[in-house]
Amino acid sequence: MCHCGNYEKYTRRDFLQKTTLGLGAFSMASLMDPGLMARNVMNNIENAGPHFAPKAKRVIYLFQSGGPSQQDLFDYKPLLNKLNGQEIPKSILGNQRLTGMSGGQGEFPLAGSHFNFKQHGQSGAWVSDLMPFTSEIVDDLCFIKSMYTEAINHDPAATFIQTGSQLPGRPSLGAWLSYGLGSENENLPNFVVLVTKDKFGQPLYKRLWGNGFLPSHHQGVQFRAGKHPVLYLHNPPGVEDADRRSQLDVLKQLEEINLENTNDPEIEARINQYEMAYRMQTSVPEVMDVDKEPDYIYDMYGPDSKKPGTYAANALLARRLIEKGVKSVQLYHQGWDHHGNLPNAIKVSCKETDQPTAALIKDLKQRGLLEDTLVVWGGEFGRTSYTQGQLTPDNYGRDHHPRCFTIFMAGAGVKGGFTYGATDDFGYNLADNPMHVHDLQATILHLMGLNHEKLTYKHQGRRYRLTDQFGVVNHNILT
């Protein structure tokens, strides 16, 4: 007789909890019925939300990986140009942690931006001439100039802003949204990830869109450019659709036997994923088929938008996915990590992203989708006001700076033409209304109708949240 599967149904911790909490016979009943055990003991309820009427039903997160320089894009600091080349005052520098890359520098000369700033729109938001398309839509944007984070390097900072913890292992924002709100379209994943192709820089890794300890069907599914958007989704040569169907049916029967014996929720997830993959064989090519998009749409998103895998093409795809009811779409664009040669390198990043970002927001707006779609643009941290490496008349660089950075949001429930928070005149420290990464996460969940303190998942003996034990919803930026 084999008992091997049995003791994995409940852990020693579960046993002790159930029997020592004085629930005696009642708890024994659930020990006898493993179905109760596997599903109820954890008290994890899928699709428990919305907790209150949502403003946003979908979110598109445009992640600018590497840390865009706020001083060269949105956070206008004329003082830096005035004091260009002078040492940053000790009182401003403080004794904040610096990276090993610039921390050893003998001097920290301030670097003024090489780019011209102008005020735009009725709201008079400052945007540099690096972002000509974004500056046209500032009246739809909500800038947060006082974001700050705790991590100083890419890996922990990106993990922090995407999963709420610097350490790997927690579910990402999109996974939490899927867990809390469920899906509107069973033919497509609830959380889709689009990474700009052929970009280099700081690595991206699946944990940024992973499900952590949440059931695995909540993880982000990466769609690739080219013939096979989702790897291994197509039938190999010689396998007909009917063959695939009958194979899946037999597999399902086997899995169900296994599920009966072990009650492992991961088996259920696996069955569902096979079924979804089967449906995606038709739904994915349909949503990825951008040939029918009219030319004026391609003109809006810019020349790159016809090249699959570019940020522009991904932005267009994001809209198509949103239209089909996908809850979260996350774009990643690498290459914002401008330690040196910033004036030239940032031009490239802006050229690749500025027009598509603005086009996406305009496109969503004219279709009425911005009404209930939230768009978030931002990186994992900001950059220093002093130069990293040599400051020359035509060159400078900026190091990582977690103390302040700028992001913007648009759409459902956030004020348009609004700027929240401020940095000091040096663009180095927070001066007004700081907003922590956890506050941003709490606010995004709030817009989606979720109370960040109620959206929990019990794992390893305690309940986890996206915002851990922190985070305050920022009502100032909400309509």
Partner: protein
């Protein structure tokens, strides 16, 4: 100097309590009295009583509870002294009343001690299981029903001040439980001088440095920043005892505080956040789902539902749409976009009175469909992009008074039509008219 003796009272009262109990126990256990123990009890009782009088004199106490406590103290001392006398006379005195006196002593000592503890630690120091808290729960969601004084200011006082400044025990001769007490100036500046922050004693005391000897409260939890700010705003704006929060039109920073501390939400509420409807039966929800719709309540405290078409593309039959009629009261967001919905099905729309957001974009509807939406009195968002709606619908659209946003990209509505819309409803935002 003499004040210090008064302050010793709360400590010294424990002496007679202890000695008297020991004496009684000794007498019961040994079966014979100890004159010296009774003597010590009497002395300690006199000491406690004496310091009590000094405290009463120097501490500005007032109120019925204080008076009763004093009486109990005096009676305790007197009975102890009488019993001491009786024992000294070898039991010849009060032979008949001995048991009665001892029982009376225990009762008076117990009540007097309890009252003293209440005066020192506040009325709720001893949480007894049979004490029922009578506080009613305040509904903070409607700010025109929240009386600032009754529902916010007095509860702050109750939690942080009234322990010492109450009816039965008004220290500093200040009773903070009533309007009269707060406005009374019989002991210097009044606690609250409406409109005059500088001369309102309460505000002065709570805003001192915490180490200042006049800082209030001297013990127990301090007032929070938000509580101090709300009290400041209340006094400054006239110290009304009757106005509701909405009438007082708080400035933005106070609104923010009231939201953070009390959850009073001043943001504009949508129809579906204010109105209430009955809950849908699960069987109806299941039925609608089986017809190819996504349906879910807007929130876990709302019975309104949000309905859209699964996958946004499907074959339409009247029968499928008919299933929605069972939820016609509850549906407030209806999204039929990117589907084969057309005029032939559209008369069903006239059956949904509570729709606030209607999405018909990328469907085959024409002006005929829009005949059916004129009775949607709560409609605020209407999306017609990618339909055949034309200028003929403008009169119908203008009949919807509450409409705030209209999406008309890729429709047949002309620039003239947009002008007419804007003139007819100045609050209407028309999006997608020409180039954005």
């Amino acid at each position: 100097m003499i004040e210090i003796l008064g302050k010793l009272h709360p400590a010294l009262v424990h002496l007679p309590i202890g000695f008297i109990l020991i004496t009684l126990f000794y007498e019961w256990y040994k079966g014979k009295p100890s004159v010296s123990l009774w003597g010590v009890s009497t002395l300690s009782a006199i000491l406690a009583m004496g310091t009590g009088f000094i405290l009463l004199k120097t501490g500005h106490f007032e109120g019925l509870n204080m008076f009763l406590h004093m009486i109990m103290g005096v009676v305790t001392t007197v009975i102890t002294f009488l019993l001491f006398l009786a024992k000294m006379r070898d039991g010849s005195l009060f032979r008949g009343q001995n048991t009665f006196l001892k029982i009376a002593l225990i009762v008076v000592l117990g009540i007097g001690g309890h009252m003293g503890a209440e005066l020192t630690h506040g009325e709720e120091y001893l949480p007894l299981p049979f004490q029922i808290k009578s506080d009613s729960i305040i509904d903070y969601s409607r700010h025109d029903t929240i009386i600032l004084y009754d529902d916010i200011i007095q509860p702050i006082f109750k939690a942080k001040c009234n322990r010492c400044h109450e009816d039965g025990d008004a220290r500093g001769k200040l009773n903070m439980t009533s309007k009269e007490g707060l406005l009374s100036d019989k002991f210097g500046d009044p606690a609250v001088k409406p409109g005059d922050l500088q001369n309102s004693e309460i505000f002065k005391r709570i805003s001192l440095s915490t180490w200042h000897k006049k800082y209030m409260p001297p013990s127990g939890p301090d007032l929070t920043y938000g509580e101090k700010r709300v009290i400041e705003w209340w006094i400054r704006s006239g110290g009304s005892f009757t106005d509701n929060v909405k009438m007082m039109s708080p400035p933005d920073d106070i609104k923010e505080l009231l939201f953070e501390e009390y959850g009073i939400d001043f943001t504009k509420k949508s129809f579906y956040e204010k109105a209430e409807v009955s809950a849908l039966d699960q069987s109806v929800i299941d039925k609608i789902k089986s017809k190819g719709f996504n349906i879910g309540t807007l929130a876990d405290n709302s019975n309104f539902v949000d309905v859209n078409v699964k996958g946004h593309s499907s074959e339409w039959t009247s029968e499928r749409l008919q299933s929605l009629l069972e939820a016609k009261i509850q549906i407030t967001w209806l999204d039929l976009s990117d589907s084969d919905f057309d005029d032939s099905h559209s008369n069903i729309l006239s059956s949904f009175p509570n729709i606030t957001k209607l999405k018909l974009q990328n469907t085959n509807i024409t002006d005929a469909t829009l005949e059916n939406i004129v009775n949607m009195n709560e409609l605020t968002v209407l999306n017609l992009y990618g339909t055949n709606a034309s200028d003929q619908s403008i009169d119908n659209i203008l009949k919807i008074n509450k409409l705030e946003k209209l999406y008309i990209w890729q429709t047949k509505i002309s620039e003239e039509g947009v002008e007419r819309l804007k003139q007819g409803n100045s609050a209407l935002e028309v999006i997608g008219a020409s180039t954005l």
